[in-house]
Symmetry: C2
């Protein structure tokens, strides 16, 4: 695959600009709420720990791609980032992946305490739905997006995927299909929903939503495989979380089953599927999404 370095450079600049918009919105929104001090500090600690903000930006860009002013969906996009952040806090807990480091800093339960980390996660998740409800769009569109988000993040999506991930840990003889199902739920569902919700909020027609959904599914798969490869090939400082942790904790991943080289090939194929799904779209937003598909497989962290 030949990467268009220039497009990726432009995309990364736009990604950073949009990420900053989401971060500002989230900080203003949380700061002004009356929340017990320690709980608020814990929520903000993880929300403001950085990250690429890919999910909320996907929501903004897909809404814009479907003709909506992206600023109108900021509350919804912010709520997606809150849900992603809660999932990281809970995944890091001692009873789950037991990770002490996240984005180069102590994970939430290390910086605060386990009870506060559980509650910060619960609060981010609960508040997210309330904030998403303030999105300024047609109420029918908003209700569809809320249902989509809940489904993608809940028992049949992200949370279900995390349960499978825990059950698969240390298991022998899993097939690549098992991993595909687990990853499509654990990571894929929320990335896909971020795209689809943007389109739903903009009132897009069903064939448009289908294309955007295909893009999101393939992007999510490419993203997770790349993540699993980085866990093997990168280092802790670059990643901001412990490198080699999948092998150490006996996780089943793409590279643990088919090796790094074949996994790289699979990731690139998913990136190609993602880009193909957008072939009928033109303009800056479509170009952004296409470059993002290249970026997720070639990123270093």
């Amino acid at each position: 695959m030949v990467l268009d370095e220039n497009s990726i450079f432009t995309m990364k600049k736009t990604l950073a600009r949009r990420a900053a918009k989401v971060e500002t919105w989230l900080s203003i929104c949380l700061e002004k709420r009356e929340i017990p001090e320690r709980l608020k500090a814990s929520m903000l600690y993880s929300l403001q720990a950085g990250g690429k903000r890919i999910r909320p930006v996907l929501c903004l860009v897909c809404a814009s791609l479907c003709g909506m002013n992206e600023d109108n969906v900021l509350p919804f996009a912010g709520s997606i980032e809150m849900i992603h952040t809660y999932s990281l806090i809970h995944d890091d807990l001692p009873a789950m992946d037991d990770d002490d480091l996240r984005r180069g800093k102590p994970s939430n339960h290390k910086a605060f305490d386990e009870a506060t980390a559980i509650l910060a996660g619960d609060a981010l998740l609960t508040d997210a739905f309330g904030l998403a409800c303030t999105t300024n769009t047609d109420l029918t569109f908003l209700l569809s997006a809320l249902k989509e988000l809940s489904f993608a993040a809940g028992s049949s999506g992200m949370v279900g995927g995390q349960e499978l991930d825990m059950l698969f840990t240390g298991k022998k003889n899993l097939s690549l299909d098992d991993i595909k199902v687990m990853q499509s739920m654990k990571t894929g569902a929320l990335i896909r929903a971020s795209c689809v919700c943007g389109a739903l909020l903009a009132g897009a027609k069903s064939e448009i939503i289908d294309s955007i959904s295909s893009y999101g599914s393939a992007l999510g798969a490419a993203f997770q495989i790349a993540d699993d490869i980085l866990d093997i090939t990168s280092d802790t400082v670059t990643l901001g979380k412990p490198a080699g942790s999948d092998e150490k904790s006996d996780k089943n991943t793409y590279p643990s089953i088919i090796g790094v080289k074949n996994s790289r090939q699979e990731a690139q194929e998913y990136a190609m599927i993602a880009k193909d799904a957008l072939s009928k779209f033109t303009g800056n937003d479509a170009e952004f999404l296409i470059s993002l598909a290249d970026y997720v497989v070639q990123r270093a962290s």
Copy 2:
């Protein structure tokens, strides 16, 4: 206070009938979803563990009181019970209250494992919002109720209250006002919201909502004080959870600060405030709510 035993008997029968309706709805709803087996079992284990179902029934009755067919708000009422159930699962975790017994059975993390219990709670909370979105009413009413529910359950409500409860544990020199604030968030907010959401879903006018809100706040306060008294005066078999656990874990409660006798007086005063708030309502639903206020302070478990 002279209790009208006959009204309470009628109320308890109606409460049980409505609770059964909520339970049936929840079971059908969860059973048919595609959820990883162990996660689904864990969610259903706690959802089907019994309980009085006071919160969802309050939602049904308050909707009916405001002229709506209560069956139309079943999805919303069910989602409130899911949120209440998730909060019990997380409260029982070793990092929180570390309780091994709930409703006469091993608590969720004892029956399954800690990771699954955390995820079952997360899934119940997330799925709840999606299911609440399917409530059949005017979308403006539904959005108001969703915001109310999120606010009551989140960082400024139930989760914030649980954080305060953890911080207050073992602290000396707390005032009764500190306890009032903590309990109004931890228990009061969701009980009040259960009532208010019923009224909101029915499109009630603001002065009606205000009365119902006052009822819900006072009922929530009465309920929690009664709970704290029962922890001291009752036994583990009757309660279905360890009696005496507040004292053992050095929790600050009404009776720990002003004693059992004064606490009983306070609970009865709150029950009176709750009943007064409904003085302008007539009919079966109002009678049910009034008897419920008596019941929560005189119940044995």
